[in-house]
């Protein structure tokens, strides 16, 4: 579904991704881990089409499209979804209104009939159960006055409604207490399917106790330096990121000798 080859990206002249490659197939859950500044969030933002990053090399193929040439809204309509690390507040715009506009933009793109208000409300009342969210939040302004946990649940609710093919969760666990973490993870798990790929970007192993990935990748200095199964996350938790960094340095040092 997603094929990233030798991707280079920089912001304000500073290179963050330095030759990142990754293959993701439908039905798979990939965890991207790594220390602060390793480029995890940059990867998430670049895939979603954030304009402030400059792509300086490499390619990204998504379901046969050159993803890098698509505008952010086109990517979204083609099924790329980013759960934001910091969901933004939009004063005066109803949460439910934004969601309806988003869903209908996507449906229109797919050539489906747009949902009217009643149909949409029926749908959302079903979907909201996934994240055990209070219905009141639907009628409040987007993310305004939401707690950290409510914002993250709202992201997962959007994911449940928009049913993306590729979902990227950017540090969805940050700022969550254990109860909220379980609810959010439960929501994500219920959305796992054969047709859907999920990329979980996280700093801590904790989230992966609940969302068990098929693959774990460790990012360091803008490149994937180690890949493995779920056990890799546990190993990282014990040994710290320093371990991977020294591990990967070894061959270079050996060469130098």
């Amino acid at each position: 579904m997603l094929s990233i080859k030798n991707l280079h990206a920089s912001i304000e002249g500073k290179e963050i991704l330095r030759g990142l490659s990754l293959e993701v197939k439908a039905g798979e859950v990939h965890a991207i881990m790594g220390p602060n500044g390793s480029g995890k969030s940059t990867l998430a933002q670049v895939l979603a089409g954030r304009e402030s990053y400059e792509i300086t090399g490499g390619e990204v193929n998504y379901r046969g499209h050159n993803l890098l040439e698509m505008a952010p809204e086109e990517r979204a309509r083609e099924g790329v979804f980013l759960a934001f690390q910091y969901p933004v507040e939009i004063p005066g715009v109803n949460n439910v209104y934004l969601l309806k506009a988003a869903l209908n933009a996507i449906r229109k793109h797919k050539g489906q009939v747009e949902l009217d208000a009643m149909e949409f409300l029926t749908l959302i009342k079903e979907k909201i159960k996934v994240v055990k969210m209070n219905e009141d939040l639907l009628y409040r302004a987007v993310n305004q006055g939401f707690s950290g946990g409510e914002k993250k649940r709202n992201e997962i609710l959007q994911m449940a409604v928009l049913e993306p093919a590729l979902a990227i969760l950017d540090e969805t666990d940050s700022g969550l207490d254990i109860d909220a973490l379980q609810i959010v993870a439960g929501g994500v798990n219920s959305l796992r399917s054969k047709e859907r790929a999920i990329i979980v970007v996280t700093h801590y192993q904790r989230l992966l106790d609940y969302i068990v990935p098929d693959f774990v990748h460790v990012l360091s200095k803008g490149r994937i330096v180690k890949s493995g199964g779920p056990e890799l996350a546990l190993e990282l938790e014990q040994k710290g990121y320093g371990w991977v960094e020294t591990e990967t340095r070894k061959p270079a040092e050996a060469l130098a000798k």
Partner: protein
């Protein structure tokens, strides 16, 4: 930063999509202003002597005045001797013969706003049959209103039919000496609307559709007078959500509202006159004096305005809270784009006891637009327990526009409670990106964000108008904001 703000720029700098006509009037008196011209206007309108005397007093006073300079607006000097102060109602022969001759861009805008065909013809100035549908519509309305004793007619008609009412209330809220533009208006005003709601009557309809029809060709010096007797209620809608075909550069209107005991007047305006092109050439100067007088106990006046047009907007709809327990409200959305300038706000003058006022002002600036809120809250000595709440929010789009807030507060009574809140925010790339990441186009996203920002004001507009205002903002955003 990055291409997202470039994209914002692109949307912002799109050209105004509405076409305008500039054809000269044939049947007009020579340009320039003199006592003779004032006399001629009065004579052409067949006015009683008290009107002529009032106009002349205003004219003589105007000669002693000079243009105000304090507003946060800049424009080339206006040559008052170069203007034409009276033109006979336009001959319909000069207009386009059918909608097919009208600029398709203009029609596209009307269609987007959902304006019925007949009204599109009116707005575009299409020459329509003399026995025009709306005439009978207007008559039906008038009949229905007259049954309840409501008078609703053009100002000229009121001068002829109800001189005693005109004489009693004209200039009683905005005296002819009030300010440069109001004084000029008093001397030369051509026409306008007159509305009188008798005691205890609740006006059964929003006075809107009729006005739209009535508003045609009222000219650049318009005068409106609304009187609500004890316990009366009226909701009055002024203006039009579509761009008007208009040749006049300077507009100096005056609106006077009088609310007696327990009366309530709700006055809503949506203004979308030609704002000038993207380089700031052309456009209407809108210098308006609007004032309401809460003359009676428990009276209530609210102003709601959505201002998206004109090159320069200079207006401060105000309320004199004279009666005890009277309430004044001001809800405003002002949008400036390209080189548009707006200096707008309100004055709430608390004179009576236990008076209350609310001010909600939303300014949106884009392009090189400059938007100033200027508001005065004044509590006089005798105004025990006066309360005011003011909220001024500014939204900036791009980095070349400006927002300014000038709140003036004068409290001469220690029991006064005055609150003022102000915020300035920018449409963030973050907000835009968030919406786009959910599949929403940049234009829709901006429109959604701006409408969200204006929500508190839109909810004050009568339902039908609110929908149009939202659409208008959408169209303005598409065409001139982004």
């Amino acid at each position: 930063m990055g291409s997202s703000s470039q994209q914002l720029d692109q949307i912002i700098s799109k050209e105004y999509e509405h076409g305008f006509y500039t054809e000269l009037e044939a049947d007009a008196i020579p340009h320039g202003l003199s006592e003779d011209v004032v006399r001629l206007i009065s004579k052409k309108k067949n006015e009683p002597d008290f009107m002529l005397q009032w106009r002349l007093k205003a004219y003589r006073h105007w000669l002693t005045m000079s243009e105000p300079k304090w507003a946060q607006v800049h424009h080339a000097p206006i040559d008052y001797q170069d203007m034409v102060y009276y033109s006979a109602p336009k001959s319909q022969k000069d207009g386009p013969k059918s909608l097919e001759e009208v600029d398709p861009e203009l029609l596209a805008t009307y269609t987007k706003l959902g304006i019925p065909l007949k009204e599109q013809e009116m707005l575009a100035g299409v020459a329509v049959d003399a026995v025009f549908d709306s005439v009978s519509v207007a008559t039906t309305f008038k009949g229905k209103l007259a049954e309840q004793g409501i008078i609703f007619c053009s100002f000229s008609e009121a001068v002829q039919e109800h001189p005693e009412l005109v004489k009693k209330y004209l200039g009683s809220v905005v005296p002819y000496t009030d300010n440069f533009f109001a004084t000029l208006n008093s001397a030369v005003f051509s026409d306008g609307s007159f509305c009188y709601i008798p005691k205890g009557v609740r006006c059964p309809m929003e006075l809107s559709t009729y006005f739209r029809i009535n508003a045609k060709n009222t000219g650049q010096f318009e005068r409106t007078l609304i009187v609500a007797e004890e316990g009366a209620y009226v909701s009055y809608l002024e203006g039009c959500t579509a761009p008007m075909r208009d040749e006049n550069q300077l507009h100096a209107a005056v609106v006077e509202l009088v609310a007696l005991d327990n009366a309530r007047i709700k006055y809503s305006t949506v203004q979308n006159w030609y704002p000038g092109d993207k380089d700031g050439k052309g456009g209407i100067y809108n210098f308006v004096t609007k004032r309401g007088d809460c003359r009676g106990k428990h009276s209530h006046i609210s102003w709601t305005q959505v201002e998206t047009g004109s090159a320069i907007t200079w207006k401060y709809p105000s309320v004199l809270l004279r009666g005890d327990y009277s309430v004044g409200e001001f809800y405003s959305v002002a949008l400036t784009n390209n080189y548009q300038q707006a200096d707008t706000g309100t004055k709430m003058i608390h004179l009576g006891r236990n008076t209350k006022s609310t001010i909600i002002s939303k300014g949106i600036s884009a392009g090189h637009g400059q938007n100033a809120y200027r508001g005065l809250v004044k509590v006089q000595k005798g105004a025990e327990n006066a309360r005011n709440y003011t909220q001024c929010d500014s939204l900036l789009m791009g980095d070349r526009c400006g927002a300014h807030t000038f709140p003036y507060i004068e409290a001469k009574n220690p029991t006064a409670k005055i609150e003022h809140e102000a915020t300035t925010s920018r449409i963030g790339e973050d907000q835009l990106f968030y919406c786009k990441q959910r599949g929403i186009s940049a234009e829709d996203a901006v429109s959604m964000i701006v409408n969200g920002f204006c929500k508190e004001v839109f909810k004050e507009l009568p339902m039908e108008f609110a929908v149009e205002a939202q659409k208008l903002l959408g169209v303005s955003l598409e065409g001139s904001v982004g």
